[in-house]
């Protein structure tokens, strides 16, 4: 039975674990940002930029953006296969689901590009 044509890893277990690991990465990154703002209530732009572009935060930020993409795709794929199924919608379900998935890919990819571009301060022309 082909039940998982387009999930992220084709394995329910791997998807399940990735979903959790990426959630932890996203949570830790959020904590770092909030922690920095709490520890430096009088933060100005110079210190903010210095913090965000420190090597550790750059790598961590990149990891976070990638985690976001994986997390969003697995989550949205799951939602799509819950609500847009043949069982509920009949023969047009695959088409509707394909359109939906295309849209999700587009949005996630855009976020990925913009996020990485901003983080690594690429000139706007690359975006």
């Amino acid at each position: 039975m082909v039940v998982n044509a387009t999930s992220f890893s084709r394995s329910g277990l791997t998807d399940f674990l990735l979903q959790r690991v990426t959630a932890v990465v996203l949570g830790l990154y959020a904590l770092c940002i909030i922690g920095f703002l709490v520890a430096n209530p009088d933060v100005d732009q110079i210190r903010w930029v210095r913090y965000m572009t420190s090597p550790v935060m750059l790598v961590f930020g990149t990891l976070t953006i990638l985690s976001f993409a994986v997390h969003a795709w697995i989550g949205m794929w799951t939602v799509g296969t819950d609500y847009l199924s043949e069982h509920k919608m009949g023969k047009y379900a695959s088409l509707v689901r394909l359109l939906y998935q295309g849209f999700v890919v587009l949005v996630v990819f855009t976020y990925l590009l913009i996020g990485l571009g901003v983080l690594w301060r690429l000139p706007a022309i690359f975006l």
Partner: protein
């Protein structure tokens, strides 16, 4: 009390309707929902429902009672009724054959998929395959399932993907054989569960635990399966 029953007779009805009956409850004792149905059927023999044991053993009278799945024979009217109204509908998420009778084929197909029988490829012992008391205790809370489908038909994930998500009842039985010390097919069983749907569509909503008339806990069994899959896969 007013009793409102979901009626659908495919030969004569073009669509389902709710039919209301007046019912006088006795003052001196509580009735089970099934007794009310039996008495109503004496007046109106066209009401269709399944029942057999009338004591929570056969699992045939699972239905939706005032919004909650349960066995009619084990649900006291006093607990179910709200604002003097008893509302009986068929189990949700399965095709209705007639009135309160649903087609359980999909439910059984998922049950079949978990191969609910002991598999052991060791040579047959002279008498029987023994099991320690501790190992036997691991099956408590699993083997008691009567396949009434109250859990599976209350599970939103099963409503959405009844053909792909096994559902709590089948998963409980899956774990019943994974946990059995006499079963040697653990690996093969696990390898059939590692797709994104069969097990992993469970979201831990716990509707199933709420619905089970035998007080079993399919969510816990599902979590155990997940733990086994993680141990096996890493």
């Amino acid at each position: 009390m007013q009793v409102s029953i979901y009626r659908f007779i495919p030969d004569s009805d073009s669509e389902p309707r709710m039919q209301d009956y007046e019912y006088d409850l006795p003052d001196d004792r509580d009735l089970m929902v099934l007794e009310v149905l039996e008495n109503l059927k004496a007046q109106d023999p066209s009401i269709g429902y399944r029942r057999s044991c009338r004591e929570g053993v056969c699992g045939s009278d699972g239905m939706n009672i005032n919004g909650q799945n349960g066995l009619a024979c084990k649900t006291p009217v006093s607990e179910a009724v709200s604002r003097d109204r008893l509302v009986l509908r068929p189990l949700p998420g399965l095709p209705v054959i007639r009135d309160l009778i649903v087609d359980m084929s999909q439910f059984y197909r998922q049950y079949e998929r978990v191969e609910p029988f002991l598999t052991n490829d060791n040579p047959r012992p002279a008498q029987e395959r023994l099991q320690s008391q501790e190992d036997r205790e691991k099956l408590d809370g699993l083997y008691e399932c009567i396949l009434c489908a109250c859990c599976t038909t209350s599970c939103p994930s099963f409503w959405w993907n009844p053909d792909k998500f096994l559902g709590p009842a089948a998963l409980l039985q899956s774990y019943r054989f994974l946990a059995d010390s006499r079963d040697t097919a653990t690996e093969e069983r696990l390898s059939k569960l590692d797709d994104p749907f069969s097990v992993f569509r469970c979201r831990g909503v716990m509707n199933c635990v709420n619905a089970c008339p035998k007080d079993l806990n399919p969510t816990r069994a599902i979590n155990e399966i997940r733990t086994l899959l993680i141990k096996n896969g890493t």
